[in-house]
Symmetry: C2
Subunit: 213 residues, 2 copies
């Protein structure tokens, strides 16, 4: 079995949503001084590669400690949306082409290739965005979650967040800031994103992976 | 496939190693005020259910961003050490009984049952401890890591940490503060503990799970 790491490195000054703080890491104990190393870190529940629980948008939505552990693992498929670029809305028709595959999946991963801009200002610019029709269509299936190689399932300028509302509102999870998903093209895989079990947690940084048999 | 959650809930005032701080969680954005919830949290790289990388003890040891992703997943076996109690040293002979099974495993999980004291002062008391001979014996195999339902692979009063030194020194990882491992008795399973990909990280809180086919 091959395991593909779909996660960004977490470090000081790493990219963060505009206006939000980056995670901060410091050595509480260091080898030279203490003989061991232990770090202390602080971050948001939505820093780096991370997972949104329904509670992120819905007060009555499930939190990380309420979701069953099975929610975080299952059969994935990759939908190639790499033909869409800046300011494009990904239409529902693009997703509907894969209906038979989505029917058998637990997770749909949206591949745009936008992870090539990670570390550049453009990453948080006008990336392609699922149209509200496309995300609504995805709620028809029995999916556990949607993953994307983008900083958000809604556009950078969105104020009403239709995609978050539809996907989280239907009880699914969202995994944002994935990378390396192009390595999954045309391959059957399982997707795993086990978040920290944070009490009343709305989200968690996560080490997302794909497993290819 | 059945997934077993082997991880403790992370929350304010949760149990922490004596003298060390607990993780701290606060709501940066709250539903009533902001329409969404986002938490900010701080913790040590060794808080709650967590993973030790070789770098925790060895300056030249691999960090979380250097270990291959395959290090965190593989075939597990459970070694029943629940007959040992307070202040007991678990002898190498107890482990050697399972040599043929260990030969085929990637991860050895030590089951003592001590997780029944989680949340009580006794949890960080005189729990049973692998003897240095037992941990030395485990370094003979081609294992990826050792997991335990204990707060440490060394005793609470240890000053020279023979087991950390042997296990991490041989390039393995250690997973501490597991729970629920009794559910794996006499079952074949895969073990997964994918840590946050922290730059120069010595350890990470983790959502550890077992997968039973």
């Amino acid at each position: 079995m091959q395991i593909i790491d779909l996660s960004y490195t977490m470090e000081n000054n790493m990219p963060a949503w505009p206006g939000e703080e980056s995670p901060a890491f410091e050595k509480k104990y260091a080898h030279d001084k203490d003989g061991v190393q232990v770090m202390k870190f602080s971050c948001l529940t939505h820093s780096g590669t991370h997972l949104d629980a329904p509670n992120h948008f819905f007060k009555q939505g499930k939190t990380l400690d309420q979701l069953p552990i099975e929610q975080f693992f299952g059969k994935g498929i990759l939908l190639d949306c790499s033909m869409f670029g800046e300011k494009d809305l990904i239409p529902a028709d693009q997703i509907k082409m894969s209906e038979s595959k989505i029917n058998e999946a637990d997770f749909v991963l949206i591949y745009t290739g936008w992870d090539r801009y990670w570390g550049h200002e453009k990453y948080f610019g006008h990336f392609p965005v699922l149209s509200p029709d496309a995300s609504k269509y995805l709620t028809r299936f029995n999916l556990k979650g949607i993953g994307l190689d983008l900083s958000s399932i809604d556009g950078i300028d969105s104020t009403d967040y239709p995609n978050h509302n539809q996907i989280l509102g239907s009880g699914m999870i969202i995994i944002e800031n994935l990378t390396n998903v192009h390595l999954l093209k045309n391959k059957p895989f399982n997707f795993a994103a086990f978040p920290l079990k944070i009490k009343e947690g709305d989200g968690s940084p996560v080490r997302a992976v794909a497993m290819i048999d």
